[in-house]
C-alpha cells in the first residue's frame, strides 16, 4: 500500500496536476500534491483494492487535474497581478546603490564605480517584483535626473556670476543629489508598506 505513489497512473496524474499548477508558489504546490497523494492512498485503503481499476476509479473521482490546479490558483488571488515583497536586506542593498551611485561618480579615480552602482541599482529595481512599473519609471527618471540638473544648475551659476566657484559647484551637486535620494525614499516607503500588509494578511 505504501507504493501507490509510484503507480504509473498515479504518477502521471500527480505530475499533470504539478505541471498545470506551475504558477503556484512551491510550498503551496507541494502541499496540494501531498494532500492528493494522501487522498489516493487513503481511498485505496478504504476500498481494500489497489488494482488498476481501483486506481482509475479513485483518480476519476478526484477529477480533472486542470480543474484542481485552477481551484488552487483561484485561492491565490494576489498571485500574478500584485507586487510581491522582497527581503529587507535585498531592498537595502538596492536603495544603497540608488543613493550612492551619484556621489560616487563625483569622486576622482573611482568615479567609474558610481556608474557601475547606477547600472546595478537600476537593474535591481527593474528586476524586483516589489515595485510596479509606474514606480520603476519614476525612480529611473529621478536617478538619471542629475545628468540634466548638474549641467543646468552649473550654467545658471555661470550666467549669474560670471564663473563657477567650488562652492557653487558643490551646491549644484548637492541639489542634484536630492532627486536620487527622493527616488530611494519613495521606493523604501512602498517596499516597507508592502512588507507590512503582506505579513499581516498571509499567515
Amino acid at each position: 500500500m505504501t507504493d501507490t505513489r509510484t503507480h504509473p497512473l498515479v504518477r502521471a496524474y500527480l505530475s499533470s496536476v504539478d505541471q498545470r499548477a506551475g504558477a503556484l508558489p512551491k510550498a503551496r504546490r507541494e502541499e496540494l500534491l501531498a494532500d492528493l497523494s494522501e487522498h489516493i492512498e487513503a481511498s485505496l485503503a478504504d476500498a481494500d483494492h489497489s488494482d488498476d481499476a481501483a486506481v482509475s476509479r479513485v483518480l476519476d473521482q478526484l477529477g480533472d487535474p486542470g480543474a484542481i490546479a485552477d481551484a488552487a490558483l483561484a485561492e491565490e488571488p494576489s498571485l500574478p497581478a500584485g507586487p510581491r515583497p522582497e527581503s529587507r536586506t535585498r531592498t537595502r542593498v538596492t536603495l544603497a546603490l540608488v543613493v550612492l551611485a551619484f556621489p560616487l561618480t563625483a569622486v576622482p579615480v573611482i568615479g567609474i564605480l558610481g556608474l557601475a552602482a547606477a547600472v546595478a541599482g537600476l537593474w535591481r529595481i527593474w528586476k524586483s517584483p516589489q515595485w510596479m512599473r509606474p514606480e520603476k519609471v519614476r525612480a529611473t527618471v529621478l536617478m538619471l535626473a542629475p545628468l540634466i540638473t548638474v549641467p543646468a544648475l552649473s550654467l545658471i551659476f555661470i550666467l549669474a556670476s560670471n564663473g563657477l566657484t567650488a562652492a557653487e559647484l558643490i551646491t549644484a551637486l548637492l541639489l542634484s543629489w536630492c532627486a536620487p535620494a527622493a527616488a530611494a525614499i519613495g521606493l523604501s516607503r512602498t517596499a516597507s508598506h508592502l512588507r507590512e500588509t503582506t505579513t499581516a494578511t498571509s499567515n
Binding site: 505504501t2 496540494l32 494522501e38 487522498h39 487513503a42 485505496l44 480543474a67 481551484a71 499567515n203
Partner: protein
C-alpha cells in the same frame, strides 16, 4: 444539513451562477460538516462531492481545505488507521466555529432576500 440543497438535481454542465454561488458558500458547508466532530479528508470530500450543487470534483476541495487550515478555521492531525496509511483528520477551531455561527445567523435572512426578488409578484 444546512447546505444540502438541490441534491436531487443533476447538473450535466456547470452554470456560471452555480459556480459563483458555490464559491460563496462552499467553505461554510465544509465548516458545517465538521461541526459534529473531526472527519478525514476522503470522508469530507466524498460527502461534499455527493451533493451535486456543491462540487465539481473531489480534488477541487483540497485547495479550499488548505486555505481553511492556513486561515485557522480548521486544524488537521494525523491519526493511525487500522487499515492502510494514517488519515489526516480535519477539526473545527474556535475561529471556525465562530465563522460558521455567523454564517448560519446570516443565511436565513439572505435566503429570504433572494427569494423575495426571485418570486414573481413579491417585488412591488
Amino acid at each position: 444539513m444546512l447546505c444540502m440543497v438541490a441534491g436531487d438535481a443533476k447538473y450535466p454542465g456547470d452554470s456560471r451562477a452555480a459556480s459563483q454561488l458555490r464559491k460563496g458558500v462552499l467553505e461554510y458547508c465544509v465548516l458545517a460538516l465538521l461541526r459534529d466532530g473531526p472527519r478525514y479528508g476522503v470522508e469530507l470530500v466524498e460527502e461534499l462531492a455527493r451533493v451535486d450543487a456543491m462540487a465539481t470534483s473531489q480534488g477541487t476541495m483540497y485547495p479550499l481545505l488548505s486555505r481553511l487550515r492556513r486561515s485557522g478555521l480548521a486544524d488537521t492531525h494525523l491519526q493511525e488507521s487500522g487499515n492502510g496509511p494514517p488519515r489526516r483528520y480535519y477539526t473545527l477551531t474556535d475561529a471556525g466555529r465562530a465563522a460558521l455561527r455567523e454564517f448560519a445567523d446570516d443565511w436565513p435572512a439572505f435566503r429570504a432576500a433572494v427569494d423575495h426578488f426571485l418570486t414573481p409578484g413579491e417585488t412591488t
